[in-house]
């Protein structure tokens, strides 16, 4: 016995009383019969603005009897099947006073199926079952992407999605070298997909784990269309418009003579600081005025090129460079380096070579950190990136 629309025939009859519209019963005084194939017979009696509904054996006293199969009957009642078409094609047959049948249409408010919540397992199967259908190829780009879903718990499972050449295929199991792995319990995945919890909350409280390409993780919302639960009428929430714009502005910055000298120095592989005549402190990069003494600084001093690392700030999460749209490979590190000739707080900030991060020791008070030297770009243009990074001096 199929329940095509997720609604039982009995529910239509059981809810007639609560859906009843007395104003539609004015002048109606009769019994109406319903014979639903394989399910049984019901009699609806309307009199004096009130109604009764009950199963019946014999519909002989009914002014009209409607016959239909369960799916058609339910379908017409919830508005999914066109009643006229069903009648024309014989899926509904009517015996008796057709005019009387017409009166029943005004008797009830339309039946709306109550939302029956699927189980976590049902959601999981449906979410992954519809994954490839929800794939948005226009957001994919050229590179091959392998995404592993490690959904834990008895309702969970393991899947791998492979995106390549504009298509997405899903298989069971976890691939060995994925671009990205998402791991969390099944219930959390379901709540995330249904919008009941947001990703940041799950990540912050360590209920979800992401490993691999973080940029890809942020694009998942574009790569796959939003999940809508099965059978549920897409609740027509008011459409809220969002205008998305990439605002692009060209800019020019004058260096002035002080920064100009510093940047030009980089072209010659020289690093310049300048020294305050009063407190003798170095400023690196050089500044026109000493920030402490507020006097003009004229004396330039060449420092480095080598130095010792005082502090290493290792980033595991990279935000895309808004100027280029590119993202640095993680982990990467910004270091504060005390170049030869500098002391105390006169540190210089720059990158450390990515593959040497775990060998860097930070200095502390008198103890010197790892000695590093700058690696210069082949072509230098008077930019701080004329130094590509610092590497261990060995």
């Amino acid at each position: 016995m199929s329940e095509k629309f997720g609604v039982k025939v009995e529910e239509i009859f059981d809810t007639m009383q609560e859906r009843f519209r007395p104003e539609g019963a004015q002048g109606v005084d009769a019994s109406f019969g319903y014979d639903i194939t394989g399910r049984g017979k019901w009699r609806l009696t309307v009199k004096d603005g009130a109604m009764t509904i009950a199963r019946a054996e014999d519909l002989g006293d009914c002014v009209v009897v409607t016959r239909a199969d369960p799916d058609t009957f339910v379908g017409v009642n919830i508005g999914k099947v066109d009643g006229t078409e069903a009648f024309t094609t014989g899926k509904i047959s009517v015996e008796g006073d057709m005019g009387a049948l017409g009166k029943t249409f005004k008797l009830f408010k339309r039946f709306t199926p109550p939302k029956k919540e699927p189980t976590v397992r049902e959601y999981i199967l449906d979410m992954f079952g519809t994954l490839t259908a929800r794939f948005q190829p226009q957001a994919a780009g050229d590179s091959k992407l392998v995404i592993c879903y490690d959904i834990g718990g008895k309702d969970g499972g393991r899947w791998t999605a492979v995106i390549e050449h504009g298509t997405c295929t899903l298989s069971e199991g976890l691939a060995s070298s994925p671009s990205l792995t998402l791991a969390m319990k099944a219930k959390d995945w379901v709540d995330l997909m249904l919008g009941r919890v947001d990703a940041l909350t799950l990540l912050s409280t360590a209920r979800a784990k992401l490993e691999g390409d973080m940029q890809l993780a942020m694009r998942l919302g574009e790569l796959f269309a939003k999940y809508t639960p099965p059978g549920q009428e897409a609740v027509q929430d008011e459409e809220l418009l969002v205008l998305k714009k990439v605002v692009s502005v060209g800019q020019k910055f004058a260096t002035g003579p002080v920064m100009g000298k510093f940047l030009n120095g980089l072209k010659e592989k020289k690093i310049y600081a300048n020294r305050c005549p009063v407190c003798k402190r170095l400023q690196l990069p050089p500044r026109e005025v000493c920030a402490v003494c507020r006097v003009r600084v004229e004396e330039f001093v060449e420092v480095g090129p080598k130095g010792n690392v005082r502090l290493l700030d290792t980033a595991y999460y990279a935000s895309p460079d808004p100027l280029t749209g590119e993202t640095r490979e993680t982990p990467y590190a910004m270091a504060y380096i005390l170049l030869d000739g500098c002391k105390g707080q006169e540190a210089f900030a720059h990158f450390i070579r990515n593959d040497q991060l775990d060998r860097i020791e930070m200095g502390w008070n008198e103890k010197k950190g790892t000695i590093v030297r700058p690696v210069w770009a082949e072509e230098r243009k008077g930019k701080v990136t004329d130094i590509r990074y610092f590497e261990i001096d060995e």
Binding site: R310, L311, A315, L323, W364, V384
Partner: protein
């Protein structure tokens, strides 16, 4: 620094905030601002007609709207009034508060409304911060607002296990406070028995700064109405008096941190606290204040700065946290609102600090009210490269010499 003398006293008479959130597609910017404005006006029992001047601010260009105060006039009520726009990075909210205080104290305006807002969902935080960096060299190098240097310092000084535990206790207490604050954005419901799990499993962002330690990015607005003594005393609720405030900024680069204790350095928080308390005759801030709404962008900074703000030594600040004295019912409640880690609509955040402190003094902050009389409150703002604003609020006017 010179001593200050106000021409007249200034009181906080109204506070309004939106519920900070990351899902405000239902309002545009002026409409969101108006929610806070409306609440503040109702709180003060006044209308826009009673306001002489609007002071507006947010992070410069974070939503890529130039001079948003003009568009926001639709929601701020500024048309026909004097209006100022201020933007000072993360300290914006505090600067708005201080500026409003100065404007009323000067005698030029009787009632000033300070409005801070941010709609980070619409904007681009990294882009905004990149824009702040020196375009001639640091823009190519900087990593945005994240740094692991503070965690490194604390771990160096106190050892990894103790430091990480203390930072996590701080974090959990802040979250417990947020769970009581109906306006807070993020309230996870963390428990102390999750501590080890969180320390081990929360993903690292940079250095030992984990995602759980870091403040949220929120959409929200805050409005605070300040009035001169005469009008404040006639307002709907008892005014909270603004006693004093100080602003201390440093050089523009970040690398003047305490990672090398051999070199003498003056952290802004230390300087701000020292100068402010000295000129107000406060020798024991831990005893004097009843609450501190501190701008804590991460649990590491929150933990670390307690020492500088309260002029403590050694590990006294760690013990304050370990003994749970910073909780709402403890000896020195910190951020009963949940603080910046729970809600961070940046342009409003530093204004929410004195706003929440004022609510605590008034005694009707809501479910997160401290269950003791609050007579003396401290609030701080933070921004950029170690800029600090410190503000003092009082229940009674009795601090003044006769």
């Amino acid at each position: 620094m010179g001593t200050r003398k106000k021409h007249r006293n200034v009181g906080v008479i109204g506070v309004g905030q939106t519920k900070h959130s990351s899902h405000r597609e239902d309002v545009n910017q002026p409409e969101m601002v108006h929610e806070a404005v409306r609440e503040a006006l109702d709180d003060a029992g006044i209308t826009l007609n009673d306001v002489d001047c609007i002071v507006h601010g947010n992070m410069e260009l974070f939503e890529m709207i130039h001079q948003p105060d003009l568009w926001h006039a639709l929601g701020t009520g500024a048309p026909g009034k004097s209006a100022f726009r201020l933007t000072t990075g993360g300290t914006t909210g505090a600067t708005l508060f201080c500026a409003a205080d100065n404007l009323v104290a000067s005698g030029m305006y009787d009632v000033v409304m300070a409005i801070g807002f941010e709609k980070l969902q619409e904007g681009h935080t990294t882009g905004g911060i990149t824009n702040m960096a020196d375009p001639l060299w640091f823009r190519s190098l900087q990593t945005g607002a994240l740094t692991g240097t503070c965690a490194y310092d604390v771990i160096q000084e106190f050892g990894e296990e103790r430091a990480k535990k203390a930072a996590m206790i701080y974090r959990i207490i802040m979250d417990q406070h947020a769970c009581l604050n109906p306006k807070a954005h993020r309230a996870f419901g963390l428990e102390f028995d999750q501590m080890d799990h969180l320390i081990r499993s929360s993903a690292r962002l940079i250095g030992e700064l984990k995602i759980i330690d870091m403040c949220s990015q929120s959409d929200g607005a805050c409005a605070v109405i300040l009035a001169c003594e005469e009008k404040a005393k006639r307002a709907a609720q008892k005014p909270v008096w603004v006693r004093d405030h100080i602003t201390v900024h440093r050089e523009e680069t970040f690398n003047i941190l305490g990672y090398d204790q051999a070199t003498e350095e003056e952290k802004t928080h230390k300087v701000a606290a020292r100068e402010l308390f000295k000129r107000n005759g406060i020798t024991n801030p831990l005893e004097y204040f009843d609450v501190f709404e501190m701008y804590d962008p991460s649990s590491w900074w929150g933990l670390d700065w307690l020492r500088d703000f309260f002029q403590l030594e050694g590990d006294e600040h760690l013990r304050l946290v370990e003994d749970r004295e910073i909780s709402r019912t403890g000896k020195m409640p910190i951020n009963p609102s949940g603080g910046v880690i729970a809600s961070n609509p940046i342009g409003a955040t530093a204004l929410v600090r004195p706003a929440e402190a004022a609510l605590q003094v008034r005694g009707n902050a809501g479910p997160h009210q401290i269950p003791r009389p609050v007579n003396h409150a401290l609030a701080s703002g933070f921004g950029g490269t170690m800029w600090t604003v410190l503000m003092m609020l009082e229940k009674e006017l009795d601090w003044q010499e006769a």
